[in-house]
Each structure stands twice: as structure tokens, then as C-alpha cells.
Symmetry: D2
């Protein structure tokens, strides 16, 4: 991943040194298993861990000769070891080390991302509550539809976050998995109990049925889950991009600390973070196809998945981490212009209330057909001449005859449209809010 | 979907008539909810259902005029209704009907596919047990690696099937979902209890927070789950394609009933079903990207997902159904040539046993270095001159000195490599097999 | 392709009957080649064509028995033939017929699509000229940037259309290709001159080096070209979706003939066609991946591409045809509100002109720093208080001192920003327009 | 791109320093244009270039404050400049610099890749000629079909290389493009002649109609062309993977210099390079979707494409470069086992010749039906009992009666199947080869 999108916590997982440290961790866990099974003297694993030295340059130097990364790693790492070295990598094949270590990296990555999703969830819940009573025009097809609560937008994203937490948790559980089962997965040269003990120590599940490697449908699920997180971020970012349009201006990206708001073109606040996030969602989608193509490996394994994974696993993790980090910051600091939301109803001349006026007239005894014809006429007049529908209604005698001014006015109260959202909030345990209590 | 891949059970779900029937089912469930809430007289829902007539041609005729499918449906369906018609579609918006009905179709589709996965699971378990003791050369990178159990291949697919069952069950649960929440999802004109009651009757969950529609991340998950099923089928089909190669011939697609095996070119049994399945997996992968792009709709909904879903939802379901139907048939009837598996060890001159010979020599006291050098020399000779490694070993005095003929011979026993697979079978509850008892 | 998106001209290409007719056309061309080479009596091809009968049901009935579509076709078609039947399919393999016939279908499809692109090109050129002098605010990041010509939008799409014409023409040339080269492409049983003559008669190129089939990179290029056409349509449709937003309303989709504009919610003109087109672009993108995966077939051919192509070739062609048909209608009938474009400058308080005011002050001798500070102050005031920047400038003494009212006013003339677009139009041969002449 | 796949020539293009150097190159070309138009004193461009200093760290330091990369670049680079600095970036917007510089990077990248394709073309032509007379069994569906020339495989790849050269040349021409047309592409603040002169100096075309940027369909075409190159490499690599299988062993990857062939498992030569290349083709495919999604930017531009391009443009270029570098090495050094190719006919018991025997019998007067029945019987016997079809024919009296031993033997001559490949070679100008002359 390019530097600008690689944030420290996940970047640290995917360095070459960190990979060798995981390899060592796996090797030591296996030695500990041999110890537990009585095949190695007590204390061997500890002695090995103390004696092991990870020297990335040395590994590179050896690899240049032997052209095999695991052999280079073993040679270099066990260099200063004494007799214990013979228990190092005992009975193992390279894939046992490499694939199990990958499980560690993915588990750690998944957990970090899950923490982020949880933080995002909290921010979204807060904002949903905060903006519960803020009315905004609901839009379908980009066209004004009916008034709604601005908080509901956050609630909808919150629900999606919860679903993505569930998906990512499942996918992470799937890849938090290793295998110490030999060259073709049948434990031909190693006791199955070694795998059980070693993976237990590492906090990984054992692949229920491995080949030379852990089957790749689990990695595909993991990447697909990340891309779905990306799609959620894209959805949120797209909404903000729309709300930040010059013509809408109901919300905008927060300022970065130190960023100066003033310039000769103060209207030119571009939602560049949101645009960047949308681009990243595309990248993640592209990785899914590649990950899916990795499933159908040949026989007990071919290594075609490896070049794919070297690129997309760190990239997808780092990109998703970056996206969640930024979108959380965005959601938390979102600049909301509630006044603007209110005045924007006028853009469609308060026509979003037309149906309610019609129903009120029917309620007062006007026939449905008459009411429809009357309201339709006023609505068309408002639309064509850019007049305010509310004003036209107030001036219409046939309406005044049935609805006194105060009652008519009340029909244009957007809050009416929020009267049923309580149960929705309640589904998220957000029912006992200050807003509702007051 | 083109006819040849559209099998009856799923095809029936996706006809236009079936869609209107689901629409009617949703409308009736809502009327029943109104009834339950006292807003409609008892028996209204029943009367409506009896009076409702679905006439596809008539709907088309009306749609040609009004250019709105739901209005055309309502007009046509309620044509012969009496006064009850006023409770039909009461308080609803088109999306309430259409999206909820889609939930019904997807739930039904998911369930059919889950049944198929379960059938496949059973077939794979049977074959895993059946071929547990059948030795085949394990191959990595397409190259002979170590002997293994042919049954393990089925077991590996079985494990993947179980994972896909879990994924598809989760995804189906996600799309088995509806919404009766109005134009922007805030129940502005409808009591939230109507949704609760109606969806309960329909056997669907309510979207935890809908916009005008059910959020599309769930449909994306569903399509992604189908494509992962497709990837599994591709993996199985790829294996059979390899095994059916003229040079390998360890397994082949079953004959279709009535298919004649004889011709002037009897070797030309082409794995065309497996190839077809591989192609289909590609199609399913392509649908995933489109489904993911559908997530980020504008504001409370735009309808760009609709043209995508009209094509990919039925196509993905029908394709996956076809694939599972065919791959189950394939797996069940797979023609296996165990003799050929045995003789194929000779293709690599029995060199897959070389490591075991070396370890045996070390076990008898030869130094590791000497053993390696000796075995390596024989292995190279076998490889370069196309000689049998076993024969060369038997003729080598330094080996004979340590390993009597019978003991040497035993080292070339492929069954040795299966001695540890019991625990793997046990993980699937397949440990108490006839094979193991005997 | 589902009915609603399958328009007659391309649908006709992809019926089963049309396919058999192409097969017959290929067979006859080959017979004619034999004739030309003296291997068949003069007139054989003509007699065969007259005697050949295509009976789809009969072909199906035979296929049910022989399980081979080409054999069923030959059997059925030659049924009523006399002795000439022995020259039918002489020396050919199935793929010679099927793949060459596919070349015919793709050539015809490509040509129809190229005609559509040409029509679109013409419509876009007309609109570019028509709206050349219409000023609209240019937007970057969805934010007002600088005034520009509405015609330039069409010109940009026109340029993209030209590029897509070039790409599709190249791709069509690539797939307008056949092969009569036998089972593995080496003419083992057929004279290479037969291919040359037959394909010449069919108006197809010969694959420069075929395997059993025409290599699939050409089909991949074709699908990729269609998806790029789709992306162009998506770009145009996205623009209209934005312009049709309630808050923008600068343009909107045309009414369909007979469509009634009136309703109680006249503002609710939804850009559903544009949304539909955006969805279709996603579908086309998904097909690209599948088509690319078809390239790496095994050895001299495997048939995994076939199931992919049965679905995506007709679907991609029909979808692209539909999209071009609709977007041309859209572009031609686009409802443009030039007044609204003019008044929308006020949404950003005429701040898009701020830079020009600053430069004018510098031109009159104010220091750059002073000018910047002054303009910036007014701009901020306009933005924060929702005041008109032009009015604020007019009221500012330091500006009045340098710029008389008329000169100041002239700075807010959007037409200024169009003064350099002539050369752009000239690149398209659109320089001698009425607008420019007047 | 990760280090291991980033080869020096292309890596050098995509460093941050190289990017700034291109930015400077663009700025200088624009100054030179001003000079040419008389708006800057003679020699300004030269003086600016000499005075400009690119200091990446300094740019970073400034960017940390101003949060704008182009401003940071200008500030830093012009630091040591005198009065000329006022002509630096004169009349330009950031995108003019950035997008034009990207055009330079892509042009250079495309040219390097085209050179590689040309080298590959040469290697493939040599190998096609070299192996023209080498007979190998042609395989369809992985099953033996008919004998063919091993050289034809190279020729097929050669044809695909030529097509990809054409595609990449076109795509490179498309992206070798810049724009100096201002914030919304209408030259509002800059003379169109500046663009013309500056781009001419840079060796780039001017975008025929730019927005704020060069339209992205051209970048999409470029990425799609790279992915199609990737698909070709995948096709070649897949073939070698198949040929290197233990059971086939007709070809294998070359040894790396210094790589030792000996080990205790000499048969374990894994085609890991080919597998790696197959994985990379998947990655490239995934980039296509993202690049296509970048086409439909909002209005005169949004910046969502930028995060996509920061990742995929360098990655796709470097990956393709790596793939071409390696596959050329692979093709050039491919280890071919012609003996094995010959003996592999025996794997299908010489049944690939059965049709020819049948035709010979018909030629000698046996009825087609009798010939078919006779040959079919022998073929089945050969297949079922693993006997050699040639031997069975030789022992069959009814055959001996018509075909003397020598004539029968001649029918099993694979070279017969190559007799018509001359014209194919001739299409590539490869007809006058030593092989053919002798």
C-alpha cells in the first residue's frame, strides 16, 4: 500500500519483520507442542525463543543463494542456537509455517478493523440521537420526497455497520485459522496433536480439512467482507458529497485541525475526503474478484494465490482501516446546517406537504376527487410559477372554508413526519434519549 | 437466464406471474394487519384474496397506459373487487410492495439453494467415506508430492460446503426481509405495527432501518455468497478436469443416461460439464461487482439498483441452482479409476517415497548426510533414466545392508500416508465407518 | 436478456433460429469453396441452400437423442437433401461452424452498435452547437467552480463517443473473424484455401492463428469496448441525474409520448431512465471480468468460455443497444432550463466571479495583497450572511474608486468565460455555426 | 507495488521525485509557451529550469502546513528563483500540471511495455520457427485430440502478442495526452495556444475536450489493455503449467542461473513462476473494474478517481512490466522435451490416429460403415485393455488385406498433421525458415 493510506497500527502488521516474527511464533508454538507431547525436552521452546535472532538483512542474503524464503529464515534464525535447533521446524513443511502465520496476521487485522467498526457504531449512534429531531427533506431519485429525520440517516448507517460487524467477525473467525498438517494436508509426517496444541497456543483454529494450505474460500470471504465495509463507507461518503453540493449545503466535511476556512472563494469547500473514500471502495471491489479467483487452486494446492495475496491482503486491510479511520472522523465532526435543511423545503415550494393537505381536506368532508383536483391545481401553479404552495393554500377560499389558518399551518409542520420514528430508534436501544424524555 | 440453465424449481420463482402473486400476497398480509389493528372489518383480507384476479396480459395493457407497474397491478387485480378494494394497498407506497415481495422471492430462492447444498454435503460425505482408503498421489503445483487419500479431496469439499451453507444461510436470513415503512422509511403515513404484523405473516423480518427500500448491502452479501458457492463448484470441477486429462485419467464425469460410450475415439471423453461449470463461476463473480456497486444509492434511494437486480438476481440464483444440481450429479456418479491412481505413482518413478527411504536409513543408524547423498543419487538416476526408484533401491547394497527386502518394500506402501487421517474424518462425524471398523 | 431490455434489431440476431441460419450460411460458404476448388460439382452450394430446411423443433428432437447440437443441426437440415448432402460439412469440425457463425453474429451486432454511436454523435454535435452560448456554472467536486458553456458538456461526451466509436470499430473488426482450420487449428484435414474462400464470401477475416477456435482475447476486447460505451452512458446519465435534482433543476429527462406531467406532486419528476442506465453500466462492467477470464483456455481449447458467452455476448450486446437507444433519445429530447442555469449562480452568491474582480483591481493598480484581502473580506461576508457578492462589491468604496459601476457589472458577465471555446468547437468541425456567424 | 514485483525501469517512473520532475517539466513547457507567445522574456524558461530545485523533503514540510501538494511544490521549487518565479505556474490550475504530468508518466510506461511486447514477439517468433517441426499431441478439453506442431502454440501466442501491441499502442496514444485548459476546461484564464505549444514540447497530444482533467475513459482503456496483456501471459503460463505436470512433462520452466537441479526429489520442479503470473493476471483484472468506475465523474470533475489511480496506475504498469519480463525469460529459456512429446502419443494408445486409419480403409475401397465398425472395435479394445492401437491394427487381417505394413505404419506418422501449417507461418512472414528450406 502506498504510504499515504497506510496507517501505523495496520502497517505494523504487514512489515517483513513482523512476518518473520510471526513465523518464529509459529515455530516456537510447534516446539512447545513437541515438548508437551514429550518429544522434546522441557524448556526447549523457551530456549529456542531466547536464542532465536531475526535479522532481515541476513535472511535476504541467504535467500539470494538458496532461493527459498523459509529455508533462509530457518538458517538465519537458528544460527546462534545450540542443540535445540534440531527441534526447530521439526516435522514441518514450509506451508505449515507460512499459512499459519498468515492466519495470525489476518486475525490481528480483522480485530483491529472490528474495533474500528465498533467505534464507528458508537459515533453513528450518538449522531442519530443528536439529530433525531432535525428535519430534513427526504429525497428519492435525487428529488424531494417527504420530510424525514436527519438522525435516521445515521441510524440507517448504524444498522449497516452492525451488519458489517457481524460479517467481518464471521470472516475473521474464518481466517483466524492455521494448519500444521504437512505437504498435502494428511499429517503424513506429523502427529495431528501437534497442530491441535500449537494452534491452541497461537489462538487460532485448525482448518477443519486443509490441503497443503488453508482453503482460500475463507480468504475470499474476508476480502468480500472488507469490500462490503468499503461499500458502506462509499454510501455514507456519497450522501455527504450530495449534502455538501453548493445547491444543497446541508452538511459538510469537518475542517482539519489548523485548516483555514477563509479564502477568496469561501464556497469552495470540496468534499475531497468523501471523494477519496468513494475511489477506495472501487479498489476494494476490484480485489474481491481476484480473491474469488484464488479459490479454485489445482489439486492439493498451487501457489497462484500467493502473488495475489501479497498485494491485496495488506492493501485491502490497510485501505479499509484508513477508510474507517477517516469516515469515523468525518461522521463525528460532520458540520450540519439545520437551518439550511429547513429552508431547503422551499426549493420545492413546500410541495412535499401537498399530500397531507389533500388528506386533511378529505378528513373535513371534501370528496377525494375534489380534494385531489383542488390540490393538484395549486401544486401545479406553485411549481410552474415558482410560488410557495403554502401561501397558495392559505389564499384559497375552498381550503379556508374547511381549515382555519392555524390548522392549515400545522399541516406544513415537518415534525409531523417524525412521529413514528420512535420504534425505529428503540430497535437500536436508543429510545431513552433526552429528546424523547423532554 | 437462458433456457438451458434455468431449471424448473427456481425458474418458477422468477416468472412474472409469480412476482404478481407475491405482490398480492404482500398486499393481503397488509390488509390482514389492518384487520388485526381494527382498521378494516374482519374478513376483509380473505375476501380480497378471493376476489383478486391476476391477469398478466391485463396488467400489461394497463401499464402501457399508466406507465407504472404497481398501479397497473392494483388496477387490474382489484378490478372485480367490491368495496374491499379501498383497503387494498391502503397507506402503502409501491416500494413497500415490491421490495417486500422481493424478500419473499429471495428467501424462497435461498432456501432451495440451501437444500441443494445439504444434498451435496451428503453426497460428498458418502464419497469421502467410500474413498477414504483409496490412495492417490497428492499433487502440489501440478507435480507429484506425497501419497494421500482420495477421500480427503471430498472431505475438503465437504468442509467448504459446510462453510458455504453457513454463509448462504446468513445471507438468506439477511434478504428474507421486507419493509412497510413508506416513501422514505419513516412510517410517515403508516403505523409501524402494520409492518410488524404483515411481515410476521409473510415470514419475513422487518428491515431494522429501511429507507424507501431495504438497504442493498444485504443483497450484495447474498450475491457474494452465491458467487462463493460458484467458486467452490469451480474448484471441484477444476479438480475433475485435471483428473480426467488423458495423461491422468484417475476420474471422469459420469455418463448421462442413454449416452453411448463407444465411438471410434473412445478416449475422447471430454469433461464438458466441468468446463461449463467453471465458466459459470466466472459469470457469478462478475455479478458480485455489480451487486456491490448497488449499495451506495443516493439519499433515501435511487433506482439504479433495479435494472441490475432484474438481471442478476434471477440469473445468479438460477445459475447457482443449475451448478449445484449438476455438480451433485457429478460427484455422486463420478467414475473413479483406483487402479490408475495406483499405477500413476510410477509416473514419477516412485520418487514420492524417497524421503521415507532416507528417514528409514537414518533410523537404522546411517548418518543423515550419508543417507541424503545416497538417496539423492538414486533419485537422480531414476529421474534421468526413467528408472523405477524402488528397483534401484532394492539393488543398492548399502540399503540392503540396513533394510531387508520386506522392510524396504514396506516403505513404498502408500497406505502409510493415510495413517493419520482418522482425526480429520472424525471432525465431520465420519469416524465410525465400515472401513475403520474392519 | 430479459424482454424489457431486448430491442428488436439486436434481439433478432440472437434468437436460436438466427443462429441456425448463420450455421447454414457458414456451411454453404464452405461448400461454395469446395466448388471453387473443384472438389464439388458446380451449383452444389446453391442446391444445398435451396434444399436445406431449418426446423428448430426438429433439431431439438434430434439433439435430445444425440446430445450434440451440431450433429442434430446437420441431421435435421440435410434431411430433405439429395446426394449433395455428402458435401455438407465436408472436412469440417463443429467449431469451424459454430465459431465462424459467432463471428457473423458479433460483426452484425458491432455494426448495429456502431450505427447507434454514430447517431448519438450527431445528436451530441447538434446539442453542443445549440447550447454553445448557454452559460452554466461549472462544478468540480459538486461545488460551484467557474462559469462555462452548457454546450461543452455535450462536446465532451461527443469526444468520448468518437473514442468509443474507434474502440468498438477495432473490437468489432477483431471479432468479425472466423476459422475453418479443424480440430486443433492446423488444417490437418482441410485445405487452408477453403477457409480463405469461405470466409471471404462471409465477409469475415480468418483468424491469423486459430486453435480449435478463434482466440478469446478478441471477444474480451469486444466486451471491454461495450462496457466502456456503458461507462460513457453512465457518465452522461449521472450528469443528468445531478442536473435534475430538485435543488439544481437545470435539465431533466424528456417526457415520454403520452406521459402526463400533471399530478399532485409536479416536482416529482424522477430521472428513472438515467438511474436505469447507471445500473446497466454496472452490469456491463461485471461481464468484462468474465470475458477476460475466458482468455486463458487450456491447450488447444477448453469449452469453459461457452457458458459465459451464451449469457454475456447476447446480454452485453442487447444491453448496450438499449442504453444507446435510450441515451440518444434522452440527449435529443433533453429538457433544458437555461433560466435556471442563470439564476443558479446566485446560489453561491456570485462568488464564482470573485477571482475576476480581484484581477480587475490589480489591473487598475491595486496591489495584489490589498486586492486579495479586500475581495476575500467581501467574499466571506457574502458567504456567511448569504448576501450577494456583486451587491457587496458595488457598495464597496475602494472598488468603486477603481471600477465604475458599468465596468464592475461587466466583470459578472458569465459569457466572458466562454470567449475561448471557439477552438474547442473547431476541433470537431463545429466552428462554422450560426452562433459564431452572428 | 511491493518491492519484489517492482523492476527498476518502471519503478523509476513512479517514484515521488520523478513525479515532481515531471511537474517541473510541465511548468517549464508552459513558461516556454508564454515565451513563444511573447508574454515572458526570452530565456525565462531556461532560467527557471536552472534555478528550480526539487527537494522532496522540503515539499513535504510545506505540504504539512498548506495541505495542498501543488502549492507546496511551487513554493519549494521556486524558492531560489528570482523574478522569473512570477512566470512559474502562470495562468494555470493544479490539474493542468498534475494531469499533464500523469500523461508523461503513462506515455513513458506504455512505451516501455510496448518495447517488452516487441521483445516477446521476437522470442515467440524464434521459438515458433524452432519448434515448427516438433510434433505434440493437440489437446482439447484436456483430452488428446490430434497431432499438431509445438511451434503453433508459440505462433498462436505471437498472434495474440501482435494484437496486444496494437491495443496497447492505441491505449498509450490515448493517455499520452495532457490539458492546459483551466479549472473547468474552457480556457477561461489561459490562451488555448499555450496548451498547444506546451504539449507539443512535451510530446503529448492535447485532450480534444477536457474538463478539469483529461477524461478517464482513456485511462480505463489503458488499464483494460494491460489486463488483456495479463490475460495473454496467463494463457501462456497456464499452458506451461499443464505441460510441466508430472504426467505430461513436455516442457518446463527454465532454471534460474545458479539454481541447483539436484535434490532428493528431482521430480519436484514446480512451475512457480507460471503460477505467480497467473495470480498477477487476476490482480490486473480487478483493476479494470475500478478503472471503469472512474469514468463517470461528477460534472466537470470530482476527484474520486485519484485514490484509485494512485494505487492502480503504478501497480498495473509495474505488474505488467514484471509479467512481460518474466514470461519473455520463460519463453526464451523454456525447456522442451520433444522425446516426451513423441512418447505421450502412447498415453492414448495412438488412438489419435484412428480416424486416419479409417479414412485410409475407405480410400482403399472399404465401405464407410464397415471401416467405422472395424476401427471402432479396435479402438475400444485398445482403450479398454490399454493396448496399442497401432499394434492391434497391424495384427488385423482385414486391415492388412488393404494396407501393407509400410503403408499402415505411415498412417501413424504425426508429421502428416503438420503438412498444412506452412500458410499459417507465412502469415507471420516466417515462411522462409531453415526448416522449410531443408
Amino acid at each position: 500500500m502506498i504510504d499515504r493510506y497506510a496507517l501505523p497500527p495496520v502497517r505494523a502488521i504487514w512489515t517483513e519483520r513482523a512476518q518473520y516474527e510471526r513465523w518464529l511464533e509459529v515455530e516456537c508454538a510447534v516446539v512447545a507442542a513437541w515438548e508437551e507431547l514429550g518429544a522434546a525436552p522441557a524448556g526447549t521452546a523457551d530456549r529456542i525463543r531466547r536464542a532465536a535472532v531475526i535479522d532481515v538483512d541476513d535472511i535476504h542474503a541467504i535467500e539470494a543463494t538458496v532461493d527459498h524464503d523459509v529455508i533462509a529464515f530457518i538458517t538465519s534464525t537458528t544460527h546462534a542456537m545450540g542443540d535445540e535447533a534440531r527441534f526447530f521446524h521439526l516435522g514441518m513443511t514450509s506451508s505449515d509455517v507460512v499459512d499459519t502465520a498468515l492466519g495470525l496476521a489476518l486475525k490481528q487485522s480483522g480485530q483491529l478493523l472490528l474495533q474500528q467498526l465498533d467505534t464507528l457504531r458508537g459515533v453513528l449512534a450518538d449522531q442519530a440521537v443528536r439529530y433525531r429531531g432535525t428535519v430534513v427533506v427526504g429525497r428519492t431519485h435525487g428529488i424531494h420526497a417527504e420530510p424525514t429525520s436527519f438522525g435516521l440517516k445515521f441510524l440507517s448507517w448504524l444498522a449497516e455497520t452492525e451488519r458489517n460487524q457481524e460479517r467481518l467477525a464471521h470472516a475473521t473467525e474464518g481466517v483466524a485459522c492455521g494448519k500444521i498438517s504437512g505437504a498435502v494436508g494428511n499429517y503424513a509426517n506429523i502427529d495431528p496433536r501437534v497442530e491441535q496444541i500449537a494452534l491452541g497456543r497461537l489462538g487460532l483454529a485448525a482448518s477443519k480439512c486443509s490441503t497443503q494450505i488453508v482453503p482460500r474460500d475463507q480468504h475470499a470471504e474476508f476480502v468480500a467482507a472488507l469490500a462490503l465495509v468499503g461499500a458502506q463507507v462509499e454510501r455514507m461518503a456519497t450522501e455527504i458529497r450530495h449534502l455538501q453540493r453548493t445547491e444543497v449545503r446541508e452538511a459538510q466535511e469537518p475542517f482539519k485541525p489548523g485548516q483555514r476556512g477563509s479564502s477568496a472563494m469561501p464556497h469552495k469547500k470540496n468534499p475531497i475526503l468523501c471523494e477519496r473514500l468513494c475511489g477506495m471502495a472501487r479498489l476494494l471491489r476490484g480485489y474481491v474478484t481476484a480473491a474469488y479467483e484464488d479459490v479454485a487452486l489445482w489439486h492439493e494446492r498451487d501457489i497462484s494465490h500467493s502473488s495475489v495475496e501479497r498485494v491485496i491482503l495488506p492493501d485491502a486491510v490497510m485501505m479499509t482501516y484508513y477508510m474507517l479511520d477517516r469516515v469515523t472522523w468525518l461522521m463525528e465532526g460532520l458540520i450540519v446546517d439545520a437551518d439550511r435543511m429547513e429552508t431547503n423545503f422551499a426549493v420545492s415550494h413546500n410541495l412535499v406537504f401537498s399530500q397531507r393537505v389533500m388528506l386533511a381536506l378529505v378528513g373535513r368532508g371534501m370528496s377525494r376527487e375534489d380534494a385531489y383536483t383542488l390540490v393538484q391545481g395549486l401544486a401545479l401553479a406553485a411549481w410552474e410559477h415558482g410560488a410557495d404552495f403554502r401561501t397558495l393554500c392559505a389564499a384559497e377560499a375552498r381550503i379556508g372554508a374547511l381549515l382555519p389558518p392555524a390548522e392549515l399551518e400545522a399541516l406544513f409542520e415537518p415534525q409531523y413526519y417524525l412521529r413514528n420514528i420512535g420504534p425505529v430508534y428503540a430497535r437500536f436501544g436508543l429510545d431513552k434519549t433526552k429528546e424523547e424524555q423532554s
